[in-house]
């Protein structure tokens, strides 16, 4: 046989797949392995060795159990409320004739642009007991003294309220996708069989939407459990600790409490994995044939007299989560003294002057941009190759690759950071204190997002498009260059931007891993918050939101209007 022929024994593409597999193992399995190991270790100072002591300390004192209690309460409340708001909103947009459903849908998507912790800070400007505008107005109307207030955001209800505002969009997106896949035909079929409008909704629409409702609820519950930003801003001042803030306390404690932190984070990791598994099981069941089928036309429910009132009600969550917070942050950034209102004499550029002459902010801005660019590039590359291997079933173990690439959905950012900390603070991998460790955190955390975007993109490139090119005489490499890359380009750009945006404001992993030289914007915001530099935070927020909006609009420009939807497909 001539030298052109390929022996079956050695396949060069094996090297590519092996590299990706190793990269994924390092990114995902390594930190989890070290986290689990650390939880059973006695600290070096005390001589090392194996122990269960960490678990005993972590789960026996009242001080450590109360945060678990609050996490449970808050997660369930936030999950339920998010489900209510998100599902009702999705139903109105998908199934009724309210005005401007597209506008409502896009506004909810836009709310992803505001980081939750900035949203919470904005709500301090609105409902803080002393300087919150709503309370100032309340005092003004009733002529009350400076100590009286109507709202206090620094309470459990304030915490639940602001977390719901930033979690309901998750439910909204999942339920909207579910509802959009149910065609009116199945409802018509029920009507013809004699079911009335209400009976049809109860017996047909609701059961068909049930998987999406459950999935949305689980997503909101999970997100509420692992969120660090909002509790750090609102719960700590209220004297409440949740699990994520407690983990942070362990890590900044004087003593070495890494083992205890690791032990403390394991139930959270297990719960997160369990929730992700349940969600997949619910969405993966094939019994719902109409979902994903050739959906017929959808007829909107006619609301009649209620059309406008319902529309107003739909605007409420958007006003609270997008309009008011953005307005508060932008206006506060130009204020001299918060609480004196928007008067000419109170306007200033001082906040911007302050941040741009602040070394910590300048360094953090540089770090954030470098990290976001590096992480989104690396993440997109690994995810794209993994997705390609999975979609084309190039190797026997392709299922494990897709499992690994999507596994970080079940790893809370703060837990991931503790794992990375354990893995990379000792020889031979001394990465702590460098930007690299944070880059590892970002790449791992956003791998599922990039993987799902690439996967969805590749699904639209039929493998026969590549085979038809090969059979005409093109080599594997040439096929990549002429066919695959040109067709895949848009998904790659989408994936890059979708990772870049959250990297700009990543908090929960960064807050555990930063050192003086590796601060990022979100960490500086938290520093400023502890020093009560609220005007300056608002100025940073405006800079951050501008950067994010640039990314969003590049996305719209290069990828098209629906690129944010890639999130919906996970």
């Amino acid at each position: 046989m001539s030298s052109d022929e390929t022996s079956k024994k050695f396949d060069p593409s094996f090297l590519v797949w092996a590299t990706v597999a190793v990269a994924l193992l390092i990114l995902i399995v390594n930190p989890v392995y070290y986290l689990v190991q650390e939880s059973f270790l006695i600290s070096e100072e005390e001589g090392g060795g194996w122990t269960l002591q960490n678990f005993i300390i972590a789960f026996t004192s009242e001080e450590h159990l109360i945060p678990i209690y609050w996490t449970l309460i808050v997660s369930i409340l936030v999950g339920t409320l998010s489900l209510l708001v998100g599902a009702i909103l999705a139903w109105c947009v998908s199934r009724t004739d309210i005005p401007c459903p597209g506008m409502i849908r896009n506004s909810v998507l836009i709310s992803f642009v505001t980081p939750p912790f900035l949203g919470a800070i904005a709500w301090i400007f609105l409902a803080g007991p002393r300087m919150g505008w709503l309370n100032i107005i309340y005092r003004g109307i009733f002529g009350l003294g400076p100590d009286s207030y109507l709202f206090d955001i620094f309470t459990i209800s304030g915490l639940v309220f602001s977390m719901t505002l930033f979690n309901f969009p998750l439910v909204f997106i999942v339920v909207l996708a579910g509802l959009n896949n149910i065609s009116s035909d199945v409802e018509d079929a029920a009507n013809i069989a004699g079911g009335g409008t209400f009976s049809t909704m109860l017996n047909i629409t609701l059961p068909l939407a049930l998987p999406a409702l459950c999935a949305g609820f689980i997503l909101a519950l999970l997100e509420a459990m692992i969120l660090f930003g909002i509790p750090n801003v609102l719960a700590i001042p209220a004297g409440i600790e949740v699990m994520t803030t407690q983990l942070r306390s362990f890590m900044v404690a004087e003593d070495d409490m890494l083992g205890i932190a690791s032990a403390y984070s394991l139930p959270m990791l297990a719960t997160a994995f369990f929730l992700v598994y349940i969600r997949r099981y619910i969405l993966g069941r094939r019994g719902y044939a109409t979902i994903g089928g050739k959906g017929g036309q959808r007829r909107p429910q006619v609301l009649g007299f209620w059309r406008i009132p319902v529309f107003m009600l739909c605007l409420l969550p958007i006003i609270c989560s997008v309009v008011l917070p953005s307005f508060m942050l932008i206006s506060t950034s130009f204020l001299n003294t918060i609480g004196y209102g928007l008067q000419i004499s109170n306007l200033t550029f001082d906040n911007y002057r302050f941040i741009f002459s602040n070394d910590a902010f300048i360094i953090s801005l540089k770090n954030t941009i470098i990290l976001a660019i590096l992480a989104s590039t690396l993440c997109t590359l690994i995810a794209a190759v993994s997705a390609y291997i999975t979609q084309r079933q190039l190797v026997k173990g392709h299922k494990y690759i897709s499992f690994l690439a999507t596994a970080p959905i079940g790893i809370p950012g703060i837990v991931l950071a503790i794992g990375l900390f354990s893995a990379y603070t000792k020889e031979p991998f001394l990465l702590y204190g460098t930007l690299w460790i944070m880059m590892l955190a970002y790449v791992t955390k956003y791998m599922p997002l990039a993987f799902q975007t690439s996967n969805a993109g590749l699904m639209n490139i039929h493998f026969e498009l590549e085979e038809s090119c090969r059979i005409l005489g093109a080599s594997r490499f040439r096929v990549f260059k002429d066919i695959t890359i040109p067709l895949f380009k848009v998904s790659l750009i989408a994936s890059w931007i979708l990772v870049f945006m959250p990297c700009l404001r990543e908090l929960s992993a960064s807050i555990m891993l930063w050192t003086t030289d590796t601060k990022v914007i979100s960490v500086v915001i938290m520093d400023f918050y502890e020093e009560a530099l609220l005007g300056q935070i608002s100025a940073i927020a405006v800079v951050l939101l501008s950067l994010t909006l640039i990314a969003v609009f590049s996305g719209f420009r290069f990828v098209g209007r629906d690129f944010m939807q890639a999130r919906e497909k996970n």
Binding site: M1, E5, L465, C469, R470, L487
Partner: protein, 356 residues
Amino acid sequence: MATLDLSKLLKVFGTDVRAVDEIDLHIEHGELISLLGPSGCGKTTTLRLIAGFLDPNSGEVIVDNKVVSDGNKILPPEKRNMSMIFQSYAIWPHKTVFQNVSYGLKFRNLTNHESEKRAKKMLSVVRMEHLADRYPGELSGGQQQRVALARAIVVEPAILLLDEPLSNLDANLREEMRFEIRRLHDEFHITSVYVTHDQSEAMVTSDRICVMNDGKIEQVGKPQEIYDEPKTRFVAEFVGVTNSLEGKVISSSVFDTGSMKLKMKENQIAVPGNQGFVSIRPHRIGISSVKTDKNSENMLTGRVKRSFYFGSTVDYLIEVEGMDDLLRVIVDPVNSFQLDSEVTLEIDAESVVFVE
């Protein structure tokens, strides 16, 4: 042009799914052969083995006496000088019609001028020259199929592979494209392998048909042979409609169904004493309302149980005494029979074919 040979070709998926089970097949220069069978019979796997997209576990694919695939080595698809037409057309959406058609010529050592001339000529052969600058998204299904044909043929491949090329077209267009494929074959005489599950498609387009089932070849032959002289019950029932009657061979020309003896076509595989089936095509059965002597050779009496009107034909299901299944008879609608009326059936011995 080339000859193609498959020798003991075996492809196993997983541990024990023998998708292609040691098949042998010889295809002549310029011949169009179709691989016909139900889904999952291994026909597409065979095609992909020929193309080099899959590697066989053992056996050989031989083009012009040169081994291109065996159990150890395979020549990559791009080195085989073959073309393939895919079920999904696989027209590249980011290239124009002209770019699609001329792409393969890049690998054929032609000057730009030559390849442009050839691509243009090819587009006019498939009557697409006026749409050369369109993108595939702007074309109908039939037009995309023509582009796929042009792109595959323009490179003048040694072997052309067609993988259910018409299954995504609507019924009218499918019929038109069948003749188009045969016309192009008559014009270019490229050795072709055509995979389909549609027997009429195979009949119209092919020189020979290879019927496959369960990874094995059931029968290879000219369309008429396959239809008139099926060797197995599977071929008889898969290609066209038929009545299969179970029974025993009495002699090389007599078959006993248990309730009656039928005279059948002389058949080498009909060994006296063997159990088997005879296949009788429904439109080869004569039917009349005239009562005749019950004992005449290959004459049966029955009762009309159901009828279906198709416009050009009528199907009758006839209950015959001693037979478990209803016998299907297809006739011209000028003859009509009442339900439950008694009829006489006459079957020409030449139409009673023994199958295994």
